[in-house]
């Protein structure tokens, strides 16, 4: 599985949405991605890519797109 597939799957499984919806998703756009959803999504992300996000990156992670940018800092190319 490519990193993009893995990354997308984290969204589709955490929030119960399709890959199409995930691709343009922003924080709080759907009920599932609230602060509680955010916490579990970040936890899954950290497990899957074996990284540990800094606080600033966790709170800056405001959309699917933004997340890709943030992951670059941890040498994860999505």
């Amino acid at each position: 599985m490519t990193n993009l597939e893995k990354y997308t799957q984290i969204f589709t499984e955490t929030f119960g949405i399709s890959a199409e919806v995930a691709a343009s998703l922003e924080y709080q756009q759907i009920q599932e991605w609230d602060s509680v959803g955010h916490m579990s999504m970040i936890a899954t992300l950290e497990n899957v890519f074996e990284i540990m996000l800094d606080t600033d990156d966790i709170i800056d992670f405001s959309s699917f797109e933004k997340g890709k940018e943030i992951l670059k800092k941890y040498d994860v190319e999505v």
């Binding site: 119960g16 009920q31 602060s35 509680v36 916490m39 579990s40 606080t55 709170i59």
Partner: protein, 468 residues
Amino acid sequence: MMWRFEQFADNTALVSEDGSEVSYAALQSESDKLAAAVGSRCLVFMFCRNEKGSLLGYVSFLNNRIVPLMLNAEIDREMLNVLLTSYKPDFLWVPFDMAGKLPEYTSVYSVWGYTLLKTPNNGETELYDELALLLTTSGSTGSPKFVRQSYGNIRANTESIVQYLELGATERSITTMPMSYTYGLSIINSHLWVGASIILSSKTMMQKEFWKQFKYNGATSFGGVPYIYEMLDKLRFYRMDLPKLRTITQAGGKLSLELHKKFAGYAEQTNRRFVVMYGQTEATARMSYLPWEYAVSKAGSIGIVIPGGEFTLTDDNGSIITEGNITGELVYTGKNVTLGYAESVEELNKGDENRGVLHTGDIAKRDSEGFYYIVGRKKRFLKLFGNRVNLDDVERMLQQAGFECACGGIDDRLVIYLTDQEKTSEAKALISAKMGLNPSAFTTIPIKEIPRNESGKVLYSKLEELYG
């Protein structure tokens, strides 16, 4: 009159997200105008947000004997319709962007991003003289059941909180919870009581805007339910640079012992106060607090009763337990015990049904030094993100929607046992939408049949045993 704003005229009462401030004098004068637009004592539905227009409505209504029924502004439309039919309010106080969704009502007054909508009802509601406020028991469950709080209840509880937290005018508390939720509201009540400032934020702790606002405005305190502390832990809150922060409070459910210890240790090392508290909407808000000096040594305890209150423990026969370390139902007595419940407009003329005594439904014990510990629950309910949820209510709601089910689980994880495998995601979607809570709070487990005893009662213990 609940609050005396004139004594703090020049103090800042509210700080909005854009950084603009509202003084107590300005709050007072706008509050008078809004009350004049409403006219006289009646029932108003308040659509709450952590915004200044929302705060204005709340203080104006309470200070002028107008009774608000507190709703989260993001309430499910179907639920709102049920409540409108059950309670027949005279007015709705709503944010501008919601007024368009309620075109059947006429706007009669607008200020600070909120507008007053007139309904066809005209003062026919009979309101008990001491009735001040209506609050849901469980945040946002799909039930029309509200707690009736009196002016005396709010005053008594606010005075206790101010006293034990030693609140003063230099406090600047940032909002972290909805104001339709009793804990969030008690923070507002107590800070306005002493002329302190409330920093209004619609953002969550998972957003950088929240922390910017926190630092920029020099927040001195905040409160949180257990899941907020889990988030803070995940964010490695302990390393954040928050120079003005003095006090953090916790309530709305039992924090894990591990997290209690972590935050108590953090507070001790950084010269801050960590105060664990316990309460219920039925007691206005607070019943006990763990004095910060004991946060480390008494980790896991809900502390001691608040000033003006009294705790007793009773056994199964209702007799008072006097020895230490024996478990029994926790019973609270005090002026903050609310009047009772209402499920419709016809019940708003009811008087005081509780007479100052609240059977909490929590099982507790007291140690040899007088500190209380919650060890279990008598009734079938659990907490979801700080909201008390009655499992039987959830079951009934699902059954009415055509699901054959039984509910169980633990805090922040309600389990729905369903006999129809095909419908698990449907049930989950329905319940999370109705209650306005993240679907991750609900787990569905398909089962063949619901275990029952001979008289047809559901055997919950068996469910947990088989699938828990």
